[in-house]
């Protein structure tokens, strides 16, 4: 009985934590999902324009140059960061066993962040973008973003300082390092590019470093933190190997900051910078394979659960993408290959693998886990979740194959300089059509996700004590087991 009682007290603490952060977390997830839908639409537009240039020809605001950077920036600042914020806030509160006391401030900063994204996107579409990759929002916005970031993330750090119990869980290592690394990366990049009047070649090298660092040291750690939480939580098994977790964490921290400048290989920079970047991007394989193995083995220890739980399924898919990213990283960054793919669309494929394949899939996993807890409702439809999962997986596989393989062939075609350059450009036609279809899959999958999340946000989820698991027996209700209807 006392065991039962302590369980209940524990569950009451968890519930109070969930309640305390429910407003900001739900806000980040829903507004992030809305921006994701915008990003996917712009992704389709960009992809279609690459094989059908006269599409929407008359609309200057949506020409390729603007739509493409709008697509990337909305995906990153509109969706990815907000999904990361929701996960940081909820996960840190849960792991520190402290309800949040500053939800109002976080929510306000979240609104300000969205305002920043809106201003930035309008700026880009009106042609006021800065032209620096992944930092195209008009210059003034970066200060707003940095202030919002501090207002959102600092409370998670304070929670960590006053946490209950001394032990620090694996996910917390990653969360804490990401919380601290992002302002360093973002501040450094913006100050060196927009404030100091540096050499233009060095400016583009710093922009390339920013792209790599924000992925390897912010998005990937958040994805891994979420996976290290969800895998043992849902399976009920311990993390496969604690030592491997330590090794995976420190190898990522050692390798991550050095990668990026290989994109400038051959530019008039000290050659060591490019080779160091290529070497670090290759060595990213080590954290990718160790973390991947650790989590996938944890998932495999309870394979039945992995099939049923949407959170675990998305997380496992994201972690498989992480291992894939490590393997592709080796091949794409060999100097002989790099020379060919440097100016091709394979870089985009690799970025999408990281941002969508790894990060977004893990965030979907986290959202499917977190939202029922903070709304106190269960997900409505098994079919929606299945559609979302299957179409997302097909879409991202197609984009990665289409862009990386297509980009490899495009790069090699560009190297054959006894042929007219147009041949290399037109050789990508089929791959671009392929990518458009892939984005279309992702669009449909995200319409299901967005609708489902909005219904949950409107408190229209199922009132049941049975989770929505992906089991479908013939003749069953599409919502799964009904269970006991909640009375409160």
């Amino acid at each position: 009985m006392s065991n039962q009682l302590s369980n209940n007290l524990d569950s009451s603490l968890r519930t109070s934590i969930d309640r305390s952060v429910s407003n900001p977390v739900m806000f980040f997830f829903t507004s992030g999902a809305a921006w994701l839908a915008v990003a996917v639409l712009l992704g389709i537009l960009t992809s279609v324009k690459s094989h059908w240039p006269s599409f929407l020809e008359g609309c200057g605001a949506l020409n390729t140059g603007r739509a493409y950077i709008a697509h990337l920036n909305v995906l990153i600042y509109g969706w990815a960061f907000q999904a990361a914020f929701g996960t940081i806030v909820w996960l840190m509160a849960r792991l520190c066993r402290k309800p949040s006391e500053k939800s109002g401030v976080i929510l306000m900063a979240g609104h300000l962040w969205n305002l920043g994204v809106s201003i930035g996107i309008i700026g880009i579409l009106l042609g006021k973008g800065t032209g620096v990759p992944w930092m195209e929002f008009p210059v003034a916005t970066w200060v707003i973003f940095l202030i919002c970031y501090v207002l959102i993330a600092v409370w998670s750090f304070i929670q960590f300082r006053v946490r209950e119990g001394g032990h620090v869980y694996v996910s917390q290592w990653y969360l804490l390092s990401a919380i601290f690394l992002f302002p360093w990366i973002y501040g450094t990049a913006n100050i060196f590019i927009f404030v100091f009047d540096g050499h233009p070649v060095m400016t583009s090298a710093i922009a390339a470093w920013y792209k790599s660092a924000v992925v390897l040291l912010f998005f990937i750690p958040i994805a891994i933190a979420s996976a290290y939480y969800i895998a043992p939580k849902v399976t009920g098994r311990p993390v496969y190997s604690y030592n491997l977790a330590i090794f995976g964490f420190w190898s990522l921290m050692a390798v991550g900051p050095w990668a990026g400048m290989q994109k400038l290989m051959g530019a008039p920079l000290p050659p060591l910078l490019g080779y160091l970047g290529a070497g670090a991007a290759i060595l990213f394989f080590i954290p990718a394979i160790t973390v991947g193995l650790n989590i996938l083995m944890t998932v495999r220890s309870n394979g039945e659960r992995a099939k049923q739980s949407p959170s675990l399924r998305f997380t496992a898919a994201g972690i498989i993408a992480l291992v894939t990213m490590g393997i592709f990283g080796i091949f794409l960054n060999l100097p002989s290959v790099l020379q060919g793919v440097q100016f091709s669309m394979s870089g985009y494929g690799y970025e999408m693998l990281a941002l969508y394949g790894v990060f977004t899939m893990c965030m979907f996993g986290a959202i499917y886990f977190i939202v029922p807890r903070i709304t106190m409702r269960e997900w409505l439809s098994i079919r929606f979740i299945k559609m979302h999962f299957n179409l997302s997986v097909y879409g991202i596989i197609a984009i990665v194959i289409g862009s990386i393989l297509g980009g490899y062939l495009q790069g090699n075609a560009q190297q054959a300089w006894d042929e007219p350059w147009m041949n290399a450009a037109t050789s990508t036609y089929a791959w671009n059509v392929f990518n458009s279809f892939a984005w279309f899959f992702i669009l449909i999958s995200n319409l299901f996700f967005c609708l489902h999340l909005l219904l949950m946000w409107m408190r229209l989820g199922r009132r049941s004590n049975h989770p929505t698991l992906l089991i479908e027996k013939h003749g069953d209700s599409p919502h799964g087991l009904e269970g006991k209807i909640q009375t409160t």
Partner: protein, 257 residues
């Protein structure tokens, strides 16, 4: 839970177990959660470490190719394989051949801009006060040896050009001047600013001019009109080239058609 039940354990009226069960129902999702455990100590397959080792070797080899940190001249930064030689399997693309006079006038114009334009102006008419015009000047269109020695040595003292006596000082323009440069700039001024000799000062003539300049002595200083009149009233020796003969604009080699 209602207000009076805020301390369920101390309230005689409430059923403790029931209120806990209500809580569990209300937060079904968080109540059914498993506890986190991270203390797994499963043995890790050696293949993982082998794969990591291979990645380490490849990555190390790539970093090693970068060499040491160097902050030298721009040329040091050019990586092997990034400046391409002849295209693989293809033919060397040759420059389109052009008439030698066009090539020399074009090359000469660049040298003129760098070396002469400051005083003689871009229209070649001088400034009307200190620097004489090159257009309509017998010194330019006349004997090539005299013209070449003015350019190479500089000029001191009065000189009559275009019906007027100019008394300025022209410094030597020999620094960095090759035979081809000299031939080009002479061809340019002899066929511009209203001058139309229509001939080409060949590279061999340029070499002859430089030989004459060296013979006079590099340190001899600016030449005077008297010396030009007495020693250099002659044309430069060397191959006389047909102005319309086609040459490669880069190498200046003649191309037979």
């Amino acid at each position: 839970m209602s207000e009076e039940n805020s301390k369920p354990d101390l309230n005689e009226d409430s059923n403790v177990l029931e209120s806990h069960m209500d809580l569990i129902d209300a937060s079904a999702a968080s109540s059914r959660e498993n506890h986190l455990r991270e203390n797994g100590m499963e043995p890790v397959s050696l293949w993982v470490f082998l794969a990591c080792g291979i990645a380490l070797i490849i990555g190390g080899a790539v970093i090693g190719k970068g060499g040491s940190i160097s902050f030298g001249a721009l040329n040091d930064y050019v990586l092997n394989g990034y400046i391409q030689g002849d295209p693989p399997g293809g033919e060397v693309v040759e420059m389109q051949p052009k008439p030698i006079i066009d090539v020399f006038v074009k090359n000469g114009a660049k040298i003129y801009q760098a070396k002469c334009q400051g005083c003689h102006q871009s229209n070649g008419l001088g400034d009307g006060a200190n620097y004489p015009p090159l257009g309509n000047s017998e010194w330019v269109t006349g004997e090539t040896a005299a013209l070449s020695q003015i350019i190479m040595n500089g000029l001191m003292g009065p000189i009559e050009v275009d019906g007027r006596v100019w008394n300025g000082a022209m410094p030597s323009q020999a620094a960095g001047m090759t035979a081809a440069d000299l031939a080009a700039v002479m061809t340019y001024i002899r066929n511009s600013f209203g001058n139309e000799t229509g001939d080409v000062v060949s590279v061999e003539m340029g070499e002859n001019a430089i030989a004459k300049y060296k013979e006079r002595g590099v340190a001899a200083g600016p030449i005077q009109v008297a010396e030009l009149e007495s020693k250099y009233k002659l044309n430069l020796e060397g191959e006389v080239v047909d102005p319309q003969v086609k040459v490669n604009p880069e190498t200046l080699e003649k191309i037979e058609e």
